[in-house]
Structure formats: structure tokens, C-alpha cells
């Protein structure tokens, strides 16, 4: 099966520091790949390479078969990016933000009705949708981020610690939205520190350490406890 998101021996060096060391992974349609690892393990660097915010030193990152450095704009059109904190325009409402970003992403105007529907699907009613983003909680912003991704009809979602700082209820709602996207055939690559979230949401789980992908597991093949032990084992070796 061809992966929607593919990293082929991707390395990235920042001066003397090797941030990524030959990372290869593949995320297929309808799959959620959860990338675990300590701070500085290289998770966000990999996401940035997929987004072509930085270029790999060697190797290749592909989205739907296209090299992201050579076809940067086309590759980005197939992806939706949801960072730890979805950054939106504070003076615009959730609805206005959604319509703005969706129109930029698709080159088409997103009708207000459709935008309200999308926001309702992620749990934001019309009253909330018409409030300014500056009044939103982090969870509400993340929901707008998902709505933007849905409006974009992206083949892949790239999420960088999306549930960090969310309360358990909001995190659970967010995981549910990801599962919905997955069920629609979206390939999801998400970085997280949250083992529970990874086990609950992921189809595959990867563990990164010092820029290398040291584990690549099927979520179904490992219990929560074993995942925790494995993770802690790798983390305890972090300083070696």
C-alpha cells in the first residue's frame, strides 16, 4: 500500500546537532501514526520537514507520492496542520477564521452555512462560532483547527502535540474528531507525549529518541502497560 505520508531516510542537521537521523516511516490512508518521544527527540523537526518549513539535510519526505521540497505548495494543499496551539486571528470570529483559512486553502469561498455545519460537527454551535477567537479556550481553538482541516478535504493531517494542555474532556473530544477523520480515510501523523492518547487514538505508534525512530509498532499489538514500559525504557536510555 502506498503511504500518504512517507519519510524516506530523512536526516536533518542543525550545525553540529543531528536532529533527525535517517528516519523512515509511512502513514497510510485511514491510519493514525502517533509519534512519541521526549522533548528534543526530533518529532517537531519531522513535522516541519513535511510542511517544508525546513529542508532535510538528506532523505526525502513525500505527501501522496510528491517530494515536499520540490512540490511544496501542492504537498501542503494535501495536508492540514494542527499545532499544539492552533493560531488564529484574535479579532476575527471562529466562523470568520474558518472561512478565511478554508478559502485560502481551497481557492474557493466557503459558504457561511457550510462553515457553520463544519463548526457544529466539531462541537461549536453558532453562538460560539460568532464569538471572537480572543474569547476562545485552547480546546475551542483546536476544534476550529479541525474544522479548517475538514474544510480543506486534506488527505493527511499533521498534528504537533495537539492535546497538550487540553483538559481530559476536551482531549477526549479531540481524539474522537481524529478518529472520525481517520474513518474518512485521512492519514494522520501526530506527535504527542501522551501515551494514553497514543494508545487510544493511534493505529501505529512510533517512539523517537535522539533523532532516530527506535520503535514502530502496531497499536493493536501492544498493551498500554507494555507501551509505557517500552517508552520509559527508551527514555531512561536517553542520556546514555
Amino acid at each position: 500500500m502506498n503511504g500518504i505520508l512517507e519519510a524516506l531516510a530523512v536526516s536533518k542537521r542543525f550545525g553540529e546537532t543531528l536532529a533527525l537521523d535517517g528516519v523512515s516511516l509511512q502513514v497510510n490512508a485511514g491510519e493514525v501514526f502517533c509519534l512519541l518521544g521526549a522533548n528534543g527527540a526530533g518529532k517537531t523537526t519531522l513535522v516541519n520537514i513535511f510542511l517544508n518549513f525546513i529542508a532535510p539535510t538528506s532523505g526525502e519526505a513525500r505527501v501522496d507520492g510528491r517530494d515536499v521540497t520540490r512540490h511544496a505548495l501542492a504537498a501542503k494543499r494535501d495536508m492540514a496542520y494542527i499545532p499544539e496551539q492552533v493560531m488564529l486571528y484574535g479579532v476575527l470570529s471562529g466562523l470568520e477564521n474558518l472561512r478565511y483559512f478554508a478559502a485560502l486553502a481551497t481557492d474557493e469561498d466557503l459558504p457561511e452555512r457550510r462553515a457553520l455545519d463544519l463548526l457544529r460537527q466539531v462541537g461549536l454551535d453558532e453562538t460560539a462560532a460568532r464569538r471572537r477567537i480572543s474569547e476562545y479556550s485552547k480546546g475551542m481553538r483546536q476544534k476550529v483547527g479541525i474544522a479548517i482541516a475538514s474544510a480543506k478535504n486534506a488527505k493527511a493531517f499533521l498534528l504537533d502535540e495537539p492535546t497538550s494542555g487540553l483538559d481530559p474532556k476536551a482531549a477526549n473530544e479531540f481524539s474522537q474528531l481524529l478518529r472520525t477523520a481517520r474513518d474518512k480515510g485521512v492519514a494522520v501523523l501526530t506527535t504527542t507525549h501522551d501515551l494514553f492518547h497514543a494508545k487510544q487514538t493511534g493505529s501505529r505508534i512510533g517512539i523517537m529518541r535522539r533523532g532516530r525512530l527506535v520503535e514502530n509498532l502496531l497499536a493493536a499489538d501492544i498493551s498500554h502497560l507494555d507501551l509505557e514500559s517500552l517508552y520509559l525504557k527508551h527514555m531512561s536510555n536517553q542520556d546514555e
Binding site: L73, R77, P83, L104, D107, E108
Partner: protein, 474 residues
């Protein structure tokens, strides 16, 4: 680049400016200041032109009605000529507030220009002459900065830039969209000013011919100011794209504004003075006086056979002729000295125009004054015309003295020279002073350097913005 994206990006910027109050406060205040400048200057122009016309009539009338008197006394009393204020002086008064608008035509000497043209003044020094041109040249960039300092840097700081770029929007599209927004907001502020200026100029123009000439000048001025504003827009975008934070962007832009608007004019004037030094007033007068003295002596020796001016060896019945010789000997010397002085000023002005490559306001200022008809060159042309009139007056008077006073003293004794009196017929033979301001076509020729510098600056600013947006810091 998609056609939907640019207006979309621009519209979002507008919403932000409207909601954060910038459109109302900064835009509204700027508009009020500029409209006030138009109104104040229309009033000033109308009043000044009315007074000028009245003074012109009164002065010539008093020349005609001075009664019977010795012609040389009349030449010493002389007359005033008044510089007509071009309609666009209400937009850009140029150096007029510094150089004056009238010249006293009197016997023997050419009236002087002031020795420190307005070009030397910094932006603040010209604050007293609140004009639309001053507001646009000095405050225009500040308005662009207020709206544009954070268009990239603010978004970078908030994280929305990363969010936007992750959608597959190119930085170039983003740049053009933001440029469209900044051009749009400046147009929103400046179009009412252009309309108000056009109406004011229509009101101030006296004839249809003057109107079409002024319309062409106004069109060219609009193009020049549009290039300047556009240059500012791209320069602000370039800085905003390169700076990591909105605060850093604002500080850098304000620093650049201060340097180019407040410091550069002073420095450019000093550099121009260093490259082409102009004499001090005392130095100029002293050099010209020596040259005149030598020329007079030569002329008196050659034409009158006398070693001493106004000595006893030239009889009084030749004093009319002596005056004629004396005057004509001085013309060439005055022409040479004033030409040298004015050429020096022209060179200094040209240096300042080229300095616009570093501080664009200097080029725009020169371009604006030339097209408004209020530049140093226009003042020079007027001074030439005034001097021609003075010589016409002086020659008529001297010719009359030769013809009548010298002959009178020949037959009635030498002292009779001073008792000779001319009457109204002689005064009427001195034509009324008339001055035509140069046509827009001529001004266009002289504005080429300023415009070329502005276009070069615009091209560089666009290049800088494209480069900065492509090499923005993450």
C-alpha cells in the same frame, strides 16, 4: 497565485485594522490633517493671490501717477514685481515661504535671492508650513508604518503566519495580498485628499489654459506620490517580513523614518554644500562689488575717457550717458555672478535629488516642487524676468536722460540736468510687468531625475520585499 487569495488576504487585513481601531484613529486623523491642510492652503492661496493682484495694480498705478520728477529719482524709487502663485502652490508651496514672492526693482542693483533655500530645511523645520505635500512626504511613510509594521512580523509572533503558510499559500501570494491591503488603505486615505486638492485647484485656477496645464501637473504629481507611497509600502513589507517581532519591526521602521525624513535632508544639504560650496552673502556681495567696480572703471575709461566714476572730469551734460554706460557695464557682471551662484544652487539641488536613492523623500520633494511650480528653478526664472523688467525700466529712464536731461543741460547749463523732469508719458512707456509660469511640459523635463530615482527606489523596495518574504526568519 489565485485571484481569490489576494482580495481575501487584503480584506482580512482591513477587518483587523477596522476592529483594532487603526482605520478609524490613524486613518481618520491622517485624513483630517490632510483635508485641513488643503483647506488652510486654499484659503492662504486665495487671499495671497488676491493681495498680489491688488498690490500689482496699486504699485504700477503709483508708478504711473508719480507725477513729474527727475527720471533717475523715479528709477531709484523703482517698482515692485510680484510672483504669481501657481495653483498647485496650495498643494506644495515649495521654497516660496522662504524665498519670498516679490522683488523690488531699483536702479543700479539686482535684488538678491535669499541665501538659504528651503531645500536645506529638515522635515520638522518645515512643520510651520503645513501643506499637503509636507504631510504626504513626512507623515505619509508614518501612516504606512502604522498600518504595515506588523503585517508579517505580527503574524509571525502570533503564529498565524505559520498557520497560513501551512495551507499551501505561497509567501509571494501573501506578500501581494498584504501589499494590496496597504495600497488599498492608503488609497482610502489619499483619494479624498486628491479629490479635495483637485476641487481646490479648479477653484484657484484662473483660466482654461491654466487649468489644463495644472491638470497635467496634478496628474504627474499623483503618479509621483503614488510611486512614493508604493515604495514605502514595499519597504515596510520588507522590514516586517525580516523582523522576528512586531516590536522590532516598529523600532526599525521608526528609526528608518527618522533617519530618512529628519536627518537625511540636513545631511544631504551639507553634503551638497561640501561638493558645490556656495558663497556666504557677504562673500558674494563683496566679490560682485569688486568685479562691478573694475567693470565700471573700464567702461568709464573706454566710453567716457574718465578715470574716476562720477568725478568732475565728466561734465553734467553727459551724466545721462554716464548712467547708461554705468548700468550696461554692470549687467554682464551681475549676470555672471548670479548665474554662478544659481548654478551652484542648482547643482546642490541635483545632488539632493540623487540622494533620494538613500532617502526617497528628497527626490519626491524636488519632483513635487518642480511640478507644483514652486521650485528653486521657478524662482530663478521669475528672478530673471524681474531683472529683465528692471533693465527695461532702467534703460528707458537712462535713454530719456540722455535724450532730454543731457540735452537740457547742454542748452541751459550743467545744473539744469537735475532740474529736468519727466512726466507721465515716460512712466507709461515702462510696460506693466507680466510673467508667465513655465508650462507643465517644461517642468516634466526637469522632473525626470526625481521620477527616475523614485522608480528606482520602488523597484528596489519591491525586490527587497520579495527577497525578505522568501528569506523570512522562522
Amino acid at each position: 497565485m489565485n485571484s481569490l487569495c489576494l482580495p481575501l488576504i487584503a480584506k482580512r487585513e482591513f477587518i483587523e485594522w477596522r476592529r483594532d481601531g487603526r482605520l478609524l484613529i490613524a486613518g481618520g486623523l491622517s485624513l483630517i490633517v490632510m483635508i485641513a491642510a488643503v483647506l488652510v492652503n486654499v484659503q492662504r492661496q486665495v487671499v495671497a493671490e488676491g493681495k498680489r493682484r491688488a498690490a500689482e495694480v496699486l504699485d504700477y498705478d503709483s508708478w504711473l501717477k508719480q507725477g513729474n520728477r527727475h527720471p533717475h529719482d523715479a528709477a531709484h524709487q523703482g517698482m515692485y514685481v510680484f510672483k504669481p502663485s501657481p495653483p498647485l502652490a496650495l498643494f506644495d508651496p515649495g521654497i516660496t515661504p522662504f524665498s519670498g514672492a516679490s522683488i523690488w526693482l531699483q536702479a543700479h542693483q539686482q535684488s538678491e535671492l535669499r541665501f538659504r533655500p528651503a531645500q536645506d530645511a529638515t522635515g520638522l523645520q518645515r512643520f510651520g508650513t503645513l501643506s499637503v505635500s509636507w504631510v504626504l512626504q513626512v507623515l505619509g511613510p508614518l501612516i504606512v508604518i502604522i498600518f504595515g509594521f506588523n503585517v508579517f512580523s505580527g503574524e509571525r509572533e502570533q503564529g498565524t503566519l505559520r498557520q497560513t503558510l501551512s495551507l499551501g499559500v505561497s509567501t509571494r501570494t501573501l506578500l501581494w495580498g498584504k501589499a494590496l491591503a496597504l495600497h488599498g488603505v492608503m488609497a482610502l486615505i489619499l483619494l479624498p485628499v486628491l479629490i479635495a486638492t483637485t476641487v481646490a485647484v479648479l477653484y484657484a485656477s484662473v483660466s482654461a489654459a491654466a487649468l489644463s496645464d495644472t491638470a497635467l501637473r496634478l496628474l504627474l504629481l499623483s503618479v509621483g506620490y503614488a510611486a512614493y507611497v508604493s515604495m514605502m509600502v514595499f519597504a515596510v513589507l520588507a522590514v516586517s517580513a525580516r523582523m522576528p517581532t512586531a516590536r522590532a519591526s516598529l523600532l526599525v521602521l521608526l528609526g528608518l523614518w527618522f533617519a530618512s525624513v529628519m536627518l537625511a535632508p540636513r545631511i544631504a544639504a551639507d553634503v551638497a554644500e561640501y561638493l558645490d560650496p556656495s558663497p556666504s552673502r557677504v562673500e558674494f556681495n563683496s566679490k560682485m562689488a569688486s568685479a562691478l567696480d573694475a567693470a565700471y572703471k573700464r567702461a568709464w575709461a573706454k566710453e567716457l575717457g574718465s578715470e574716476k566714476r562720477w568725478g568732475g572730469d565728466v561734465p553734467l551734460d553727459r551724466w545721462g550717458r554716464a548712467l547708461q554706460v554705468d548700468d550696461h557695464a554692470g549687467y554682464t557682471i551681475m549676470d555672471q555672478h548670479f548665474k554662478r551662484l544659481w548654478d551652484t544652487y542648482e547643482k546642490q539641488n541635483r545632488t539632493q535629488e540623487w540622494a533620494g536613492l538613500l532617502a526617497p523623500m528628497l527626490s519626491l520633494r524636488a519632483y513635487s516642487m518642480i511640478l507644483a511650480g514652486t521650485s528653486f528653478y521657478d524662482h530663478r526664472l521669475f528672478s530673471h524676468a524681474a531683472e529683465r523688467q528692471r533693465r527695461v525700466m532702467q534703460d528707458i529712464v537712462s535713454d530719456d536722460l540722455v535724450k532730454n536731461a543731457d540735452a537740457h543741460s547742454h542748452t541751459h547749463g550743467e545744473q539744469a540736468h537735475f532740474t529736468y523732469q519727466a512726466d507721465a508719458r515716460l512712466w507709461a512707456s515702462v510696460p506693466r510687468f507680466s510673467y508667465q509660469t513655465p508650462l507643465a511640459k517644461e517642468a516634466l523635463g526637469r522632473s525626470v531625475v526625481g521620477f527616475a530615482v523614485l522608480l528606482t527606489g520602488l523597484a528596489l523596495a519591491i525586490g527587497a520585499a520579495l527577497w525578505a518574504s522568501a528569506h523570512r526568519p522562522e
